[in-house]
Subunit: 247 residues, 2 copies
DNA sequence: GCGAGTGGTTGATATTTGTCAACCTTAAGT
DNA sequence: ACTTAAGGTTGACAAATATCAACCACTCGC
């Protein structure tokens, strides 16, 4: 595997500062896999045999029950997912499928568990990562329970804007159907809500978003928003959608 | 503080097996507080100065945005809450209020952070605890997104039953308004749903629940239930409601 | 024993959200 | 260039859920 890649992975908060030997052992045990698009790489309920690292492409984490299914997160390079199941040695609670041609690094869970036991810095990193994931999900759950669809959408767009430095314009990072599912609504509902937001300070045209009246949009989101900030728990990958692109 | 109490706390997964000295330092730094009912002990947005241990009584974790509020969990002795904010040195994402006269042990976050840094077993415990909390919340979120109110209730009741060993009869552990809010619905809606479940294998009379036709109730819950089991992530206190009492 | 407050239930009604079907647009494949 | 498939949008409609108001039952404090 190319050295540059290892560098990128090592720079992840989860791996940064851990023993050189720990890291090397993990990488050596890992499988490097190329996957075509639309392939299920993890099935919920299965034993968590691997920690996954997304190296190229894009992966959707989702959950399903008889028919229905819900997007839980979309993961882009370079980040890991399902650390929790891995350290708990418990079944996956989410499935994962590629959205594009992707490249994944599969690190056997046994090795991960050995590494947390052996390298206390790695354990601390894992702890921080999991705390961040947890907090990300707390925010998400609060969103689902405290806001209706329009408010959730407004809050989401404001958050996206803030994450790229309060730029008023940006591009949606993923397909709208994924955003809709992630936010617990139907695509139709999202579509209509997007349109109606024109009256509340935000214009959406295709993938392009322009916040025309931030104050108004914030009022709609039912702010008091420590709910989504001011601390983004940035490392909370694996429980959210990707960053948008400014423009 | 009585010795017996320390024993109970020490037996929590978070503290079990950690260095005697680590534990003693934490306990020595802690404040032992008696609180009357209906007192807010933690406000979301505030810096996370303390890890809280519920020693007696009952505490509700909740979140609120302009008017509305949502129950996130109910914590009973002996367990801890808001570990995540504490180790991240980040603001609380939830508020906490006593439901009854309660006794709390407040362990300063600085000491907790020092302890995880110094005692690698404690760090591993914290990691496991946070992984459990995360997984608990994942289940909860899946529930919210994939099931409607009746299904959520059916699933909840089945879960409660399973947690006490598949007893068909039990007593609801908390007030119905809390259950309703936790599950993201209004009390009125919960009340009606409870009544309607009589036709689907479950009878609710006041606090008493009797599952009369488990198979039928499971069918309604839209099972395939790895969703709530078979691994309860038991240590996931702080993200769920208390256990019911069998009867 | 009595009044007040809280939680719970019920009914009528409004709002929100989902469903279904049609259609449009775009990108990919032949 | 044509066809196909997928994502997205729109409208009409249905279902789920919330809201509001009244009422009941129970507990607590006097």
């Amino acid at each position: 595997m190319p050295h540059a890649l290892h560098q990128d992975i090592r720079r992840l908060p989860l791996f940064s500062g851990i023993g050189e030997e720990t890291f090397r052992d993990l990488m050596r045990a890992a499988y490097d896999q190329q996957m075509p698009p639309h392939v299920t790489v993890v099935s919920e309920g299965a034993p968590a045999d691997f920690l996954h690292v997304v190296v190229e492409g894009m992966v959707e984490l989702f959950a399903s029950t008889n028919g229905r299914d819900a997007t839980m997160a979309v993961v882009r390079p370079v980040s890991t997912f399902i650390l929790a199941a891995c350290v708990r040695d418990a079944p996956y609670l989410m499935s994962a499928r590629t959205l594009q041609r992707s490249r994944l690094l599969l690190v056997p869970s046994v090795n991960v568990r050995a590494a947390v036991a052996a390298d206390s810095r790695f354990a601390l990193n894992a702890m921080q990562d999991l705390a961040g994931c947890y907090r990300g999900l707390v925010r998400h759950t609060k969103n689902l329970k405290l806001r209706n669809t329009r408010e959730r959408i407004a809050a989401y767009l404001l958050r996206q804007s803030r994450l790229i430095g309060d730029a008023p314009g940006f591009t949606l990072p993923v397909e709208k159907r994924l955003i809709a599912s992630y936010m617990g609504m139907t695509p139709e509902n999202l579509s209509r809500a997007f349109k109606s937001l024109a009256a509340d300070g935000c214009k959406i045209d295709g993938q392009r978003v322009i916040i025309t009246d931030r104050a108004r949009l914030e009022a709609l989101a039912g702010l008091s928003l420590l709910l989504d900030g001011p601390d983004p728990d940035a490392s909370a990958a694996g429980v959210s959608l990707p960053l948008p692109e400014a423009s």
